[in-house]
């Protein structure tokens, strides 16, 4: 099972969620995506996205300047 690191800092529109979506599509089940983001809307988006798609949100850290998330691909 692979760990994929995704730097989406500075990305806004289309947002980091699209990168996560693309990466998850190409990844294998059980792979873990580590993503770093500066777009504030991402925290809400990734929670909603995981809920809708069934991917598992392992971690979500909302820092003052950076948000990071760990997602296990379904």
């Amino acid at each position: 099972m692979a760990e994929i690191n995704l730097n989406c800092k500075g990305l806004q529109c289309p947002g980091p969620i699209m990168q996560v979506f693309k990466t998850a599509k190409e990844a294998k089940s059980g792979d873990v995506i580590n993503v770093k983001v500066t777009d504030r809307g991402f925290a809400k988006d990734i929670q909603a996205w995981c809920k809708k798609t069934g991917n598992e949100l392992l971690e979500l850290n909302e820092g003052e300047t950076e948000i990071s998330a760990k997602i296990k691909v379904k």
């Binding site: 800092k9 500075g10 806004q12 529109c13 289309p14 947002g15 969620i17 699209m18 996560v20 979506f21 500066t38 504030r40 809307g41 988006d45 909603a48 996205w49 809708k52 798609t53 003052e64 300047t65 950076e66």
Partner: protein
């Protein structure tokens, strides 16, 4: 010549400012300030934060004691002294010493009315119950904090969704109290336009505050202490009630003197703070001013205005020939609600329409810093202008980022009579940690000019909400974004695939393009226009500023 006697009635912001400025202008005036209150020169706007404990101690709120004030200025301040009547002919004020009940006469050569404003208290059943408060004076804040710290307050109801109500709600919430806000109007922040106010409302709701709008408080119930608030729609349990439904100017004493009251129900003064009676001035929350845009009388009871009025009065009382003046104000305000900041200047779109302007406006999201600089936050600008003259009429800025800078820029521009074209070309400070290369205010002006010149047709969130059934909503964001949150009934075609897939759509039907903030929708707009679409519009502010139902 004997030293002239000046009596100032009221000792918060405007009264003390007038006295201090006059003394600095000319130390020979014999100035006395009286107040019926115990505290002088206090930070009224800080009271909600004292309840929350952000301001720890009472002494931090009270800027100066009477002793401090005397020491610094040489002016006597008499607390617990209530002015009860005025003898105009003999220039005498009857003053009751509240501690003893004794009544004294104070002679004056010049009089300053700075009697402030008081909370409006609706005459409803149960208003006198224990733990039903207004929040205006230091004593109110002390009593509310004491109640909160008793540990007996689990649930609170704040009646009124204006600044004081919302700030108090936040501070009570931070004390682990379950808070409901009941607002009579359709949304909180009544001075703001609907889209911006609803943005704040959604934000506070997400934080966990229960907000009930278009709802009227009918009565308050309880045995001794408050137990519940009854509205026209429900009953809400409450151990504490804050009534913050607005304030009214204290003009009782002014009326006794025969001072003219203005159309705003506050004391009418000219630009020099003179009332219609010679040697009598009025300043602060009891006095009206002028709206700089409409030129009409306006009443903005704000600490910022009160201080300016006090300075003007102080200067003119010393030398009436100097004619220092306050021409008016724009009603510029700013408020912090949890992590959200909201600011406003000039006319709202609603007020501008009411005043008869041919209004044009846009809603434009942007960032307070460069998007690649860590820690930037989104702010949404609503810019309002006159379609015919292009003059800027007002603005509202909301978001987690810095909003006071853009609103102050726009307030300054409006004061100097700026057109949208002027705003667009302002040379503003730029480096990534401070601003986007094109500052949010400039981008908003760009979009508004595009709209004015017919280069883009837009639809506001409120307009779209009302015609969702009649239009095709075309969401041009990527599939993942659309999946997370979208406008009900929309079609999703990613902007990059638009040229291939748009041919399937009806070119004659009104089509509203939606993206995250409006930029990609604008690019798609140009594309669809090129393809022969007849009636295309861009949703202003995109999903970022759409405060209505999504799925």
């Amino acid at each position: 010549m004997m030293n002239q006697k000046v009596l100032v009635i009221g000792a918060v912001a405007a009264g003390t400012k007038t006295a201090a400025k006059l003394k600095r202008e000319n130390p020979n005036f014999d100035i006395t300030v009286i107040t019926k209150d115990e505290y002088i020169s206090y930070a009224g706007c800080g009271l909600p934060y004292y309840i929350g404990g952000v301001i720890e101690e009472k002494k931090e709120l009270v800027v100066k004691t009477p002793e401090d004030f005397k020491l610094i200025t040489g002016i006597d301040v008499l607390i617990n002294h209530e002015a009860i009547d005025i003898d105009k002919e003999n220039k005498k004020v009857k003053v009751k010493v509240l501690a003893t009940g004794e009544v004294k006469d104070f002679h004056y050569d010049k009089l300053v009315i700075a009697t402030g404003a008081s909370p409006f208290v609706p005459p409803i059943e149960g208003i006198d119950l224990e733990r039903v408060f207004t929040l205006r004076r230091v004593e109110d804040a002390l009593a509310i904090r004491e109640a909160v710290e008793s540990g007996e307050i689990k649930k609170a109801v704040v009646v009124g969704g204006g600044f004081i109500g919302l700030e108090t709600a936040e501070n009570l919430f931070d004390r682990n109290i379950e808070v409901s806000i009941v607002e009579l109007a359709p949304h909180i922040l009544p001075g703001f336009d609907e889209e911006i106010a609803l943005y704040a409302q959604n934000y506070m709701t997400e934080k966990g505050v229960n907000i009930l709008t278009s709802e009227k408080v009918v009565s308050i119930k309880g045995k001794g202490k408050v137990e519940k608030v009854v509205t026209d729609k429900r009953e809400i349990e409450a151990d504490l009630v804050i009534m913050s439904v607005g304030v009214k100017p204290n003009v009782g004493l002014a009326k006794k003197l025969g001072i003219e009251i203005g159309t705003t129900r506050a004391i009418k003064v000219n630009q020099h703070m003179e009332t219609n009676i010679p040697d009598v001035y009025a300043v602060g929350d009891c006095a009206e001013t002028t709206n700089l845009i409409t030129g009409k009388p306006a009443w903005y009871p704000m600490g910022s205005t009160a201080n300016k009025m006090g300075r003007v009065a102080g200067i003119n009382m010393n030398d009436p020939e100097e004619k220092d003046s306050l021409k008016g104000v724009l009603g510029t305000t700013v408020v912090k609600l949890f992590g959200l900041n909201a600011a406003k200047t000039g006319l709202s779109e609603r007020d501008a329409k009411k005043e008869g302007y041919d209004v044009v406006s846009v809603i434009v999201p942007g960032n307070d810093k460069a998007h690649y600089y860590p820690g930037y936050r989104m702010i949404i600008t609503k810019l309002i202008a006159d379609k015919n003259t292009h003059k800027v009429l007002g603005a509202q800025v909301i978001g987690e980022g810095v909003v006071d800078k853009p609103i102050d820029i726009i307030a300054t521009a409006i004061t100097l009579g700026a057109k949208v074209e002027d705003l667009e070309k302002l040379d503003l400070a730029y480096a990534p940690p401070f601003s986007m290369a094109m500052a949010t205010t400039i981008v908003a002006a760009n979009v508004l000019l595009n709209k004015l010149k017919g280069k883009i047709e837009t639809i506001s969130p409120v307009q779209l909400k009302d015609k969702l059934d009649e239009v095709v909503v075309l969401d041009v964001r990527d599939e993942a974004s659309n999946m997370i949150c979208s406008i009900p009934g929309c079609i999703n075609i990613y902007s990059e695939e638009l040229s291939m897939k748009a041919e399937e759509l009806d070119k004659n039907k009104e089509t509203v393009l939606v993206c995250k903030i409006g930029k990609n929708a604008y690019l798609s707009y140009l594309q669809l226009k090129e393809m022969g679409f007849k009636n295309v519009k861009v949703l202003e502010g995109g999903m970022a500023a759409y405060p209505y139902k999504t799925e």
